[in-house]
Amino acid sequence: MIKSLDPRVTRENIEENNLIAPLTPMDNWETYEVFHQKKRGDQHMHVGIVHAPNPEMALLFGKEQYGRRSITANIWVVKTANVFASEYDDADMFETTPEKQYREAGGYKVMDKINKYKKANKA
């Protein structure tokens, strides 16, 4: 018999050599991506993944894993298989040449003007 530190295991009287088969990979449920919203109107943020056999259970588990310890207004779950993602091999698509500073907010030097305006109006 298996003697465990956990009394619940010990009292099951399980033989050392037992037929309890380990899970095979296909025994696992599919995954759902979980999106968490803190309060109404906020964006839903991706927070992680749960295993579930259907969307309802994915919601249950999403609530438990990601809504239990923080303020939650709403949760979305989306089947991972339904997410279309870009390829990491194509990551160079996202690169941009350094010359196009005018396309970035940092490219505009306006603080001088703002401070000047503030100063002028204060007086």
């Binding site: 619940r8 295991v9 579930a52 259970m57 249950l60 588990f61 438990e64 239990r68």
Partner: protein, 251 residues
């Protein structure tokens, strides 16, 4: 207000919650999958918390501290229904008990939300969300497993048959039904049982499960009066083991 009647009501509710909370917590680390393990354990903790809120009300009515009441009584002093002390069995039985008990619990607290005993009504309103989630969890599993495949359906049906007469024991009437009704504290076990039957039927139908035929109904009574199965004593022993090591320890 009849304090003895209120105490009787509080004790049976608190003990149901404490014992089923402990039983359900025995699944911690052994649940069918990680996510469900966490969900079931978390709800078990909710139940212990709910029982503590009721033991606190009892304390305010002159009973001992919640910890003392929870951990120093012997099995015969517990007022829980026998249903909640039964061993967990396989997950099918635990889920079926979770469904039958939690629906009854939610309805009971819904009735109590308008109780004339305001402290209890306040607790009922406070835990409304937890109870709603517990029932949502139970309903989702029952419907899913009732209609998943032949094996799951057969196992859930067997679990329902095995649980049935014990679940009817939840509605064992106490000595103070009339006092509680007349004073507007609680509308009574008969009314609750009726409401419960009406509520579980649509879910069980959706799960394609069948309630045992009415002429086989024989409620397992006695729990409310301290008559228990042989399973409660070892549970109480195990539950209070750590407390008894040093009852004066500060937690």
């Amino acid at each position: 207000m009849n304090t003895t009647a209120i105490k009787d009501l509080l004790y049976k509710m608190a003990d149901d919650l404490l014992i089923i909370g402990h039983r359900n917590s025995e699944w911690t680390g052994l649940g069918p999958i990680l996510e469900e393990d966490i969900a079931f354990s978390s709800m078990a903790q909710d139940k212990i918390g709910q029982s503590q809120a009721l033991f606190q009300l009892l304390h305010e009515l002159g009973e001992q501290e919640p910890d003392t009441v929870a951990f120093t009584r012997n099995a015969k002093q517990f007022h829980n229904a026998q249903f909640v002390e039964l061993p967990n069995g396989d997950y099918d039985f635990s889920l079926m008990r979770h469904f039958l008990y939690d629906v009854a619990d939610q309805l009971r607290f819904e009735m109590l939300a308008s109780s004339s005993y305001e402290p209890l009504a306040k607790v009922a309103r406070k835990i409304k969300g937890e109870l709603k989630y517990h029932v949502f969890h139970a309903n989702t599993w029952i419907v899913k497993l009732g209609s998943a495949n032949e094996e799951s359906k057969a196992r859930m049906q067997t679990a329902l048959n095995d649980a049935w007469n014990y679940s009817l024991g939840l509605f064992e009437e106490g000595d103070f039904e009339n006092d509680l009704k007349n004073e507007g504290v609680f509308a009574g076990e008969v009314a609750l049982k009726q409401l419960w039957l009406e509520t579980i039927k649509p879910t069980l139908t959706k799960a394609t499960l069948t309630i045992p035929h009415e002429n086989t109904w024989e409620p397992e009574l006695g729990g409310r009066k301290g008559i228990h199965t042989e399973h409660l004593e070892p549970l109480v022993e195990e539950m209070s083991e750590v407390f008894r090591v040093d009852p004066s320890a500060e937690w």
